[in-house]
Structure formats: structure tokens, C-alpha cells
């Protein structure tokens, strides 16, 4: 049927079939909304997808990559199943790494404890009670040596979820490769290293936004030259979403950050086609199944077009948005925790249908504590079932062409572009300045708090249903076994650190720290000096203190 005929037929259907039906049978709800409060219609037809399908979709592996960045997607290679792990001391996490590799995991992913993430040593007063609790404690290269004991760095790819102190951990990984005799250009992995979203959402920082971004660009410059197979940043929407963002806000703020990093790199003198292929993204996969799929597809299209048209990238790899996905931690419920296995499966399926390059599935017990080994295994098996049993990996972009999915993709895209234009205006034609100004003024923080509050109100009014929370509830207080961190981790870690401090060459440490400080003051790239410093067993806290002293500590302006 031609388009006009389809439209006419839809009108006829509404009149002859739908209206009489609705007179007899009311819809279950007055309004059907996504978790992001977007209204969903009863039916989508070709009428709803007015855009130029051929140009907007393209073919897989071709610009603008809506259907996927690879030609055959999962028919050639599955996504990387990458479960985040880390707790206690380096020995314990090293054991978990070996366990995961044995069970078929393909890449490692490291969770650090809060002190390491915030650039404090384990013996700092702010670290009390937090050492080894949320992740592994790493103070010096000694801990990294233990963490990767028995693992050759050219045989794995390792992801490090760390931000303000990411440059130090990166320097340690490079130093470890040097130690193992692995050439630097053979190491593969990712540091999260996305400071902009820290100021927006995750709230881990050491110094102010602008010098923090300078430090990120130091790692870009170093990475382009020294470790071309290592992703120096994972531009993350995950935390923005967890902090309360809608799907559109997650995508808009994350892509804006991506463009801002490109602008920062170009400002430093890097070529857009040198840096862009090293950028990777990290998204959340949330509850509203089709909206999420639309989000992933829209992400690729917006990135490709902006990189080509606005930033003049010529290399196809610069146009391809590669991303990691994690299922939404915030959707895990403490109530009836086994239900979380199903939530995770659906969110993981959305990520796969959206064309993700790697995936972390949450464990069902994570609303309560870090996951137990059993819970992690079920989460990993969930991915394996999707990959090998469901059949969704047999063809590229199986939902492409669905009126509803194309409409969701177009809608998310249009609203995302509106936000990006607003941010661009906030920076008077520079997205980098727009993002930094927005952070200073609390724009992003307010937008997220508003959405989070709105969602909570909808849950309490039963406009959003959460099984086990506001429907089909049971008596709570269900006890499931949770992971216990050995209470003496802190003491053991502090002891290790004192031992390293006693045994290292004090003069070399002083010199290394002085060199970093001098480079910072000269405005020179600090990365090579950090690599030297970690080799002298200078600690994470000692290095980050240099930046605290030179630029000042950051405190968030009060905005509630």
C-alpha cells in the first residue's frame, strides 16, 4: 500500500474498529508511559515514521550505523561479556578474576574501593570503613602486581572503572606491561576516566572541573602515541541515568560530554581522527524495553552525523560509536530479590537488540550488597543464554523497520538533539564550554534531581509499577546470603602500604612527585611522569595530592 493509503486505512481502523471497541472496553490505564515519562500510543504505522528511512538507517557497518557498527554484528563475534568485579584486597580480586576467566568471561573489569576512586590512600582518615568495601583497594603498583598475578596483559582486555585517579591506574597498567615485557601497544582495555559525568552525576572528584578535564586530555595524548589499543575513556551515561536521568537526558548529556572531550582534545592539538577512534561509550539499559533499544540506535546515528558533519572527522572509525552496557542497578529491588534475575535478563536483551559491544549484567543481590559468586554466575549465564539460546544474535538489528522501534529511535534522537543544542548555546557555540558552564551552574545536577523526584512520585502514585514494591508485594525482610567483606581488610591493606612505604627508595619518591608537580605547573603532559612515579611505588594518594595542592580541592556547590 502506498503511504497515503496506509494513513487512510489507519483513520478508517480508528473509526470503525478502535473507537467502538474502546466504548465497550476501557484501556487498562488512561495513559501509557515509559519509565522516562514518554507517552506511548496504541498503534504505530508507517505514518509515524515519516523520516527518510533509507538515509536514516543505512546498512550495518555503514554510515550512519543505525543498524549497528559491524557488518554482520553478532554473527561474526558476540559482544564481550564483562562482569565487573573487585572487593577486599588485591589477592581476593585476583582469585575472582581467575574464577570468571575459568567460567568463560572474555574480559576483566575492575571495581575499586571508594578511597582508590577518590584518590586517597588506605591509611587516610577519610578512608576509614571504606577500604576494600565497594571494590578492591589499590594504593601502589605492588597491589596491581598482585591483582594481575598469573594474568598476561597481552592476553586479556581489562576495564578499569575509575575516574579522578584514572591517570594513576592507567600509569600503573602501563608500568605493569613494561614489567611483564609486554609492548605498550599490545595492551587492551579501558579506563573510565570520564570526569564530566562525575561532576554531573557520580560525584567522585579530586580537583575542579577544568583542571580535571586537562588531566583527562593528558591521558588522550599519551594514549594516542603509546597505547593505541587501549581506550583512554569510557564516556558514561550509566551513572547519569542511575542518578535519575530519563533515557533522553542520559543520551543527551553523555553525547554532549563526548563532543566536549573531542573539542578539548582538538584544542590541545590532537587530530580529531587520532582521538575519536579511541573514545568509547558506556550506557545504561533500563526498564522500558523499546525506548532503550531506540536510545542505543539513536546514539549511533547522532554520533556518526555530528562527528562527520560538525567535527569534520574523515576516518570511519571516528564515526562509529562503540559502547559498553550495564543493566540498570537502580531498578534492582531489595524486595523479592530473585525477581531481579528477570529484570536483568530483559535489560540485557534490550542492550543486545540495541547492538552493544560489551555487557555487564547485574546480579540479583546487588540492592543489598556486592554480589556473591553464585549471583554473579547467574548474571553471566543470563548473557550466555541470550547469546546462544534466544536466537536474537542470528540476524543484524532484528527490530529494524518496526514502526514502533523506528519511531522511538527518531523521538529519542530529536529530543536529544534539542538538549545538545541547548548545551551548545550555554557555551556560546562550544559544547565543551557549555558542559563546563552547566556543571558550574548546577544545570545538569538540577535536571537529574527533578527527573528522579518525578519518577519517585509516579511510583508512589502507582503510575509506574514495580513488582514487589508497589504491586504484588509480600512481607519484606527476606534474607538472602550476601557477600561479607572480611573485617580485617582495612588493617591488612594499611599494613601492606606501610611496608611498601618503608621499603621503597624515599629519594626516588620525592623526585617523582616533584617532577609531576613541575610538569603540572608548566602545563606539560603529566602522564610520562606518573608512569615513572608509580614505578618508584609512589601511591595513588600521594600523586593525587599534587593536583589537590596545585589546583585546590573541589567541593560541590550546595544545590538542594
Amino acid at each position: 500500500m502506498a503511504k497515503a493509503e496506509v494513513n487512510a486505512d489507519k483513520s478508517r481502523w480508528e473509526e470503525e474498529t478502535l473507537t467502538p471497541f474502546l466504548e465497550k472496553t476501557k484501556a487498562r490505564k488512561e495513559k501509557f508511559i515509559t519509565v522516562s515519562n514518554e507517552e506511548i500510543d496504541c498503534l504505530y504505522t508507517s505514518d509515524d515514521v515519516e523520516s527518510d528511512i533509507a538515509n536514516d538507517l543505512g546498512q550495518p557497518g555503514e554510515y550512519p550505523y543505525t543498524r549497528g557498527i559491524h557488518e554482520t554484528m553478532y554473527r561474526s563475534r558476540l559482544w564481550t561479556m564483562r562482569q565487573f568485579a573487585g572487593f577486599g584486597t588485591a589477592e581476593e580480586t585476583n582469585e575472582r578474576f581467575h574464577y570468571l576467566l575459568k567460567h568463560g568471561q572474555m574480559g576483566l573489569s575492575t571495581a575499586f574501593d571508594m578511597p582508590t576512586l577518590m584518590g586517597y590512600d588506605s591509611d587516610h582518615p577519610m578512608s576509614m570503613g571504606e577500604v576494600g568495601v565497594e571494590g578492591v583497594a589499590v594504593d601502589t603498583l605492588k597491589d596491581m602486581e598482585t591483582l594481575f598475578d598469573g594474568i598476561k596483559l597481552d592476553e586479556v582486555s581489562t576495564s578499569f572503572t575509575i575516574n579522578p585517579s584514572a591517570p594513576v591506574i592507567y600509569a600503573m597498567y602501563v608500568a605493569l606491561a613494561d614489567q611483564q615485557g609486554v609492548p605498550r601497544d599490545k595492551i587492551r582495555g579501558t579506563i573510565q576516566n570520564d570526569m564530566m559525568k562525575e561532576f554531573m552525576a557520580q560525584k567522585e572528584w579530586v580537583t575542579h572541573p577544568r583542571p580535571s578535564v586537562d588531566l583527562v586530555v593528558d591521558t588522550f595524548e599519551f594514549g594516542v602515541k603509546e597505547t593505541p589499543k587501549f581506550n583512554v575513556i569510557s564516556i558514561s551515561g550509566y551513572h547519569i541515568r542511575e542518578a535519575g536521568a530519563t533515557a533522553v537526558q542520559e543520551l543527551a548529556f553523555t553525547l554532549a560530554n563526548g563532543f566536549a572531550y573531542v573539542e578539548a582534545a582538538v584544542k590541545r592539538g590532537l587530530d580529531v581522527d587520532d582521538i575519536a577512534p579511541q573514545l568509547s561509550f558506556f550506557f545504561n539499559s533500563h526498564l522500558s524495553f523499546f525506548e532503550e533499544i531506540g536510545k542505543f540506535r539513536a546514539a549511533r546515528r547522532i554520533w556518526a552525523r555530528m562527528m562527520k558533519e560538525r567535527y569534520g572527522a574523515k576516518n570511519e572509525r571516528s564515526w562509529k560509536l562503540r559502547f559498553h552496557t550495564q543493566t540498570a542497578g537502580v531498578t534492582l529491588t531489595e524486595q523479592q530479590p530473585m525477581n531481579n534475575i528477570v529484570r536483568v535478563a530483559l535489560q540485557a536483551l534490550a542492550a543486545v537488540l540495541g547492538g552493544t559491544q560489551s555487557l555487564h549484567t547485574n546480579s540479583y543481590d546487588e540492592a543489598l550488597a556486592l554480589p556473591t559468586e553464585e549471583a554473579v554466575k547467574i548474571a553471566l549465564r543470563t548473557q550466555q543464554i541470550i547469546a546462544h539460546e534466544s536466537g536474537v544474535t542470528d540476524t543484524v538489528d532484528p527490530l529494524g523497520g518496526s514502526y514502533f522501534v523506528e519511531k522511538m529511535t527518531n523521538d529519542v534522537e530529536a529530543q536529544t538533539i534539542d538538549y545538545i543544542e541547548q548545551i551548545d548555546k550555554m557555551g556560546e557555540g562550544s559544547i565543551l564550554e557549555g558542559v563546563l558552564n552547566g556543571i558550574d551552574e548546577g544545570f545538569f545536577q538540577r535536571e537529574l534531581a527533578k527527573s528522579a523526584y518525578e519518577y519517585q512520585r509516579q511510583v508512589e502514585k502507582h503510575e509506574q509499577i514495580i513488582v514487589g514494591v508497589n504491586k504484588h508485594t509480600e512481607d519484606d525482610g527476606q534474607r538472602i546470603p550476601t557477600l561479607k567483606i572480611h573485617p580485617d581488610v582495612e588493617a591488612r591493606q594499611v599494613e601492606r602500604l606501610s611496608k611498601v612505604r618503608a621499603e621503597r627508595d624515599g629519594a626516588a619518591v620525592e623526585k617523582a612527585l616533584a617532577d609531576i608537580k613541575a610538569a603540572t605547573k608548566r602545563g606539560e603532559n603529566t602522564m610520562p611522569y606518573m608512569v615513572e612515579a608509580v614505578k618508584a611505588y609512589v601511591s595513588v594518594g600521594e600523586i593525587m595530592d599534587v593536583f589537590r595542592k596545585v589546583h585546590g580541592e573541589y567541593r560541590e556547590p550546595s544545590m538542594v
Binding site: 571508594m114 578511597p115 576512586l117 577518590m118 586517597y120 582518615p125 577519610m126 578512608s127 576509614m128 570503613g129 571504606e130 568495601v133 565497594e134 557520580q202 560525584k203 567522585e204 542511575e242 542518578a243 535519575g244 537502580v330 534492582l332 529491588t333 531489595e334 524486595q335 540492592a367 543489598l368 550488597a369 556486592l370 537529574l448 534531581a449 528522579a452 523526584y453 519517585q456 511510583v459 508512589e460 514495580i466 514487589g468 514494591v469 508497589n470 525482610g477 527476606q478 534474607r479 550476601t482 567483606i485 567541593r555 560541590e556 550546595s558 538542594v560
Partner: protein
């Protein structure tokens, strides 16, 4: 209300602060990365009825008892200390014994928190609940 330690998860604390305000309470949020000492000092200065602490970092067994101890030492024995976040059931038992209340997990309705605070504060003031 306060976030103590290095934990940056502030979605919950902001939602709860807004909900308490909407219910007519006066709320002072001290922001991120407070030490227990800073949180208790703020409570003293502002002469509060309730100290609410949000922790999702797993450090609750160290930081919450420390805050209770500091509050008691500074004479805030009649001030309610309550917490919310990711806290396993068995830890809740131990914290309750140390006079730390609330212990609301993910999925809690803000109206339940409001009711809880009103009841507890009435009890502490000796008024009928």
C-alpha cells in the same frame, strides 16, 4: 540530612530531602563527603530533631555507630539518628540495637519515611504518637 564518607550516591538523599520538605519539614542537607564529625557538628549548630544519613557505600557498620557515639557524647541523646541506603538485613539488626533507626532500603516510599519521622520525633518528645 547528610552523606558521610566518600560515597557519592546522592539521588536518594535528594529525593528524600525534597519529599520531607514537601511534607512541611525544614530540611538542611549538608552535601557530599562529610566526616561523621562534620555531620554531628552541623546537627548541633542547627538544633535538629533528626539526623538522616544516606549510605550506599557499604561503610554503614563503621560510620553509623561512629555518628551515634559522637551524637551521644555531645548531648544529642534525644535526637533521632536514622539512615537509608543499601544495608543488608543482618546489619540492620545490629544497628537497631545501637539506637540507629529507619534503615530504609531501595524501594521505600517517601510517605513511609515521613510517617516514621513524625512518630519517632513524637515519641522522643514524650508526646502521644
Amino acid at each position: 540530612m547528610a552523606k558521610v564518607g566518600l560515597d557519592g550516591h546522592d539521588r536518594g538523599v535528594k529525593v528524600v530531602a525534597q519529599a520531607l520538605r514537601d511534607s512541611g519539614m525544614e530540611v538542611i542537607y549538608t552535601g557530599l563527603h562529610n566526616t561523621p564529625d562534620q555531620a554531628v557538628t552541623a546537627a548541633l549548630q542547627e538544633d535538629v530533631d533528626v539526623v538522616g544519613v544516606s549510605i550506599l557505600s557499604g561503610a554503614h557498620m563503621t560510620l553509623l555507630p561512629k555518628i551515634r557515639k559522637l551524637m551521644d557524647e555531645k548531648g544529642l541523646t534525644d535526637v533521632l539518628l536514622m539512615a537509608g541506603g543499601t544495608i543488608p538485613e543482618e546489619d540492620k539488626d545490629e544497628l537497631r540495637q545501637q539506637n540507629i533507626g529507619g534503615l530504609f532500603g531501595p524501594g521505600t516510599f517517601t510517605e513511609d519515611i515521613v510517617t516514621y519521622i513524625n512518630n519517632e520525633v513524637d515519641k522522643l518528645r514524650g508526646a502521644p504518637a
